[in-house]
Symmetry: C2
């Protein structure tokens, strides 16, 4: 096994035992990137020499904790002190802020090795697409907007990577790339230094190759209760299988994936029942859209007024010009509906419900790179501010991964991770067995 094939948790143990050096891991990672990047195009920036220099420095330093030496990719809307941050926008070509975003600083101070910047949809907001391809089938999208981060982890080019989710940009690419993803409780991880679109929605998230990998970062950010894993018994676990009010947007593979995940958990002893959300939740999709466009108006204004604003795509002019017709009344109604649904959602949990099982995407990724997929199975959870953990389920006959997500109440990131750790081995069948036939 080459070092690049190790999960973050596996490598962390080997580095702690001094059976693997940071430089070995870095060189293996860079070799994998060199071999695969011409095909997958996950990266917008990698400085090979700097990565090796930094890995050597880490080898000279006493380990700072479990992230020491682990390889991390950073979505290119998140600032890095020593690399450009270009937002996949001609406006920011070569731009370098000279400081780390808070989420990057935390892992860097914890000893992680920042490998490079990953390609993204322009400003992570429905603009120019990333050049990235799905590593499982190059003719298909890896999803977006965290396209490069999802594909790089899915292609074993890096162990961990940051994404951001405003509608569905962390959990959907996790599904499309066959990997694990986490969108923590909104606001629990600082977004300072990540491009803003919508302060109510923008959430820093991350990818890994196992639940333990995801937990390493949750712990680094000191999310409530994540200091130590607590074992969860699958037997008797109350799982609410939630088709979501968007069920009609799921394709046959998506539906089959959710049902398969439910069946597999049931076979492993869980009590799986269908969960219907209260009727008001059907308004959450429009509410998410209103808030996203309403808040983006102000977020994009500075770029819109700048001297090089002719480089800004027409889409952004429409947002700032409020062609979406957002009004104060619509904004308040959207905020208030979201607040009520948050309370209603959390009231569902208790003796009868431990966790919600839901689709992570509508199903098979779209063909080509022009469409990164529909975020409708994510946007409601984003607006609910609740923690979501994406888990792979299997693959379609074309070899394209499918995924589901586990969802819990706000700030129960620890509990959702513990439950995901118990559920993942049941849900995630290996590639050879995991072909999902349409339901």
């Amino acid at each position: 096994m080459e070092p690049y094939e190790l999960t973050a948790s596996q490598a962390s143990a080997l580095i702690a035992e001094k059976k693997l050096s940071c430089e070995e891991l870095a060189r293996s990672t860079l070799a994998r990137i060199e071999a695969r990047d011409p095909l997958v195009k996950a990266w917008s920036y990698v400085d090979r020499d700097m990565v090796i220099r930094n890995a050597r420095e880490l080898d000279k330093t006493p380990p700072k904790g479990p992230l020491h030496g682990l390889t991390v990719g950073v979505k290119d809307i998140i600032e890095t002190a020593d690399m450009p941050t270009q937002h996949n926008s001609p406006l920011y070509l070569g731009h370098q802020s000279g400081q780390d975003a808070a989420c990057v600083a935390v892992v860097r101070h914890s000893g992680a090795l920042i490998v490079g910047k990953t390609d993204t949809v322009e400003f992570a907001f429905r603009g120019r697409k990333a050049a990235t391809r799905n590593p499982h089938n190059l003719d298909y999208t890896p999803g977006g907007s965290s396209s490069g981060s999802g594909a790089a982890v899915g292609d074993l080019q890096v162990q961990l990577a940051f994404g951001t989710q405003t509608a569905g940009s962390v959990i959907r690419p996790a599904a499309y790339n066959g990997i694990y993803g986490m969108k923590p409780t909104h606001g629990a991880v600082s977004r300072e230094g990540a491009k803003n679109t919508s302060h109510t929605l923008d959430t820093i998230g991350w990818y890994g190759r196992s639940v333990d990998d995801l937990a390493l970062l949750a712990q680094a950010y000191r999310l409530f209760g994540t200091e130590a894993a607590r074992p969860v018994a699958l037997k008797g676990l109350k799982v609410g299988l939630c088709p979501s009010p968007a069920w009609q947007h799921a394709d046959a593979y998506g539906r089959a994936a959710l049902k398969a995940a439910g069946r597999r958990l049931e076979a492993a002893g869980a009590i799986v029942t269908e969960l219907a959300l209260p009727a008001a939740f059907a308004g959450m999709f429009d509410a998410q859209n209103t808030i996203m466009y309403g808040e983006a108006r102000g977020a994009l204004l500075a770029d819109y007024l700048g001297p090089r604003s002719h480089l800004l795509a027409e889409h952004y002019r429409e947002v700032v010009g409020n062609l979406h017709g957002i009004t104060p009344q619509k904004m308040c109604a959207a905020y208030d509906l979201a607040a009520r649904c948050r309370m209603d959602f959390e009231a569902l949990f208790g003796p009868g419900l431990d966790v919600v099982l839901a689709l992570a995407s509508p199903g098979e990724p779209p063909q080509g790179l022009g469409d990164t997929g529909n975020p409708i199975f994510n946007s409601m959870w984003t607006l609910l501010h609740v923690p979501c953990v994406g888990i792979p389920v299997g693959k379609t006959p074309k070899g394209l991964p499918l995924g589901v997500q586990l969802v819990g109440p706000r700030f129960a990131d620890d509990r959702v991770l513990d439950i995901a750790r118990a559920c993942a081995p049941a849900i995630h069948e290996n590639d050879a067995l995991g072909v999902i036939e349409p339901a």
Copy 2:
């Protein structure tokens, strides 16, 4: 009259008519700063030569709108491309990010002249105090955390300045410095590039010397409905005088100021009635505190883990270490109470209520610089996300200013400004007449 004495709106008209050059205004401003800074200490950074160079450039450029050439100070937790951003923290001594915060970029692109950085409470969050003194009486605090911005505008050293409000850091210093202040609807102005403490609370605000000055910036940020002022008749205006559940924290001068403002509006034809908020609002002070400390935990983590964290005050270690005992349950309860109170507050408006009149501070500013004053008359409005406009009322016998604020529903920034424009001449008596005796 020297150019530095002009309000932003007055100077804007003269510059448009070419009766005043940007360079003249800049030189007059710099002379005022030079004369007064040794006493007031409002600034942490002014590059005199750069200011004059930039003013000359503006004189060569066709005016971009009403902000052209106007002088602006920037609180030193807000990034500026061409000046350091030091957060009044030894951790950030000499730090320069190389990019403008969104709020700065918008006014710079609109032709404003950035004069310098103003001193602040460390990270705008209960740390090391600014060196700034109250320009009306140097033995007293100018308030905080936007200490330098409030004092610089109050001392006629600059026309406009940015502050930030997480508890009461924009509107309270407006009162203490005898000036106008605006805290717009939460999130309507992008906070990108301003130091984060609490994403639910942090709000960019600004100071000016008249309501028209405040409106210039509201317009630059394209807040809903601010394209043009709409006249408001004082006669018949329904004003709810709100003592707030914190009334017992007001001193005799504060109480007198609020009552005087109410009497003066009544004398001018408004219908002023006392407004009692529903009982649940009494929980908003604790909720604001819980959210502020709970969110600051994550916001300060990167600095706490950094190699120079020994330079971080003990206070911040306590926040990251969660010595305030914040729990998921407390966070959710605080968020949900705030959401319910937002709905309840807005339901008060309608035929019987146009605007709320409330205290902007407990009363006279504290003596000395160790205590910047209690934010309890602001923190509830900050958490409600509603627009607030601070208006001076008069002075205590020691020559210290007192202020009130007008408050409206979310996104009614335009309406609150229009109402403030009508109310300010009645509320704000000039210095000679405005001595407020304790009630």
